[in-house]
């Protein structure tokens, strides 16, 4: 228990309300999935933040390379016509 390096890291996702998506809210250490869920409940839902919790082993996440940031993301910066700001969303559609 003293060596934190032996305990895997988990990413925590919380869904605040029905109809919304789970959102990443942080990470924690736990020995397995059950313990990770318990810990996520204790660490991240203390103030009534959640209706549902997901935990994912951090090692299972494949991340983009920061060195490829330019080729990944810059090309989209000049294409403002992709933003839906020219449309008005009808009230009935609700949260998007």
């Amino acid at each position: 228990m003293s060596d934190q390096n032996e305990i895997p890291l988990w990413e925590v996702f919380i869904r605040p309300r029905n109809g919304l998506a789970h959102r990443h809210c942080g990470s924690l250490h736990a020995v397995d999935a059950t313990m990770a869920l318990n810990a996520a409940r204790d660490v991240y839902t203390r103030r009534g933040e959640g209706q549902s919790v997901w935990v994912v082993p951090s090692a299972q996440i494949t991340a983009s390379d920061p060195l490829e940031k330019g080729e990944n993301f810059e090309p989209s910066e000049t294409k403002i016509y992709r933003h839906p700001t020219f449309y008005e969303v009808p009230e009935e559609v609700g949260h998007m």
Binding site: M1, S2, Q4, I7, L28, H29, A30, V31, T34, M35, N38, A39, R41, D42, V43, R46
Partner: protein, 251 residues
């Protein structure tokens, strides 16, 4: 139901929860990992919250103008009627988790029945407390299983914790004139009726934890009549310090 019996019944329950909540709060800042440093105070706050509701109602039943704070902080040691298990020192993390599992497993069964109490206020408190107790079982049972069925070191520590806690189990199921009167009035369930369900639950977890329950141990007793272990005075010194040094202080 005479109100002295209801008062004493509420006081015993409240004292169990306040004292165990206080013991758990001692882990705050000292837990073996950050996640547990939040989890144990979470449980402590649940228990202290339950004791607050019970003390507030007890004070009302007593009708002598005492507040929940008077009952929680300003009584003498012999006037606290908690079971001895909850006042024993925390020991190591495994000991604390095993104590929580044994206690919460009992309380979940107790609150479940107490939801049908003839006393509406107690039934209401039970309805809220049962959900909290079920989580306390989940949290502590998972640790008991993993530590019992863990390394040689963790297994040996759990065996030691089990040996240390065994004498304090019997008091959970104790009856006396107060409980018998309260049971007859339908205020609380009969603890002995909960015993087989409790043993089944403990047995199930202990099997997974590769531990052997010690269920027929000679019981230490006395908490219900204010005869405490030597550690209770030190606990109360810390618990009561603020109210005794700065009477009526709030924050």
């Amino acid at each position: 139901m005479t109100s002295p019996v209801l008062f004493e019944t509420l006081l015993r329950l409240a004292d169990d929860h306040l004292i165990l909540g206080h013991r758990l709060s001692e882990w705050c800042g000292h837990a073996p990992m950050l996640e547990e440093d939040l989890a144990m105070p979470n449980i402590a706050l649940d228990l202290i919250g339950q004791s607050r509701a019970l003390y507030a109602y007890a004070a009302e039943v007593e009708g002598k103008g005492q507040s929940e704070d008077d009952l929680a902080f300003l009584r003498l040691e012999k006037d606290y009627h908690n079971i001895l298990m909850v006042e024993r020192p925390n020991g190591d993390f495994g000991h604390t988790m095993l104590r929580q599992f044994l206690f919460s497993s009992f309380m979940a069964l107790f609150w479940d029945r107490a939801q049908n109490s003839t006393d509406e206020t107690l039934a209401g408190i039970a309805g809220k407390a049962i959900k909290e107790s079920l989580y306390h079982i989940r949290h502590s049972a998972e640790w008991v299983i993993r530590l019992g069925d863990g390394t040689d070191e963790s297994h040996n520590r759990m065996v030691a914790a089990n040996t240390a806690l065994a004498p304090y189990i019997g008091e959970l199921f104790e009856t006396d004139d107060v409980t018998n009167t309260a049971i007859a009035s339908g205020i609380i369930p009969r603890a002995s009726d909960l015993r087989s369900a409790w043993e089944t639950q403990v047995q199930t977890v202990f099997e997974q934890a590769t531990l052997t329950p010690t269920l027929d141990h000679l019981a230490q007793t006395g908490g219900r009549i204010g005869e405490h272990t030597e550690d209770m005075g030190f606990l109360l010194a810390q618990l009561q310090f603020m109210q005794r040094t700065y009477p009526n202080m709030t924050w």
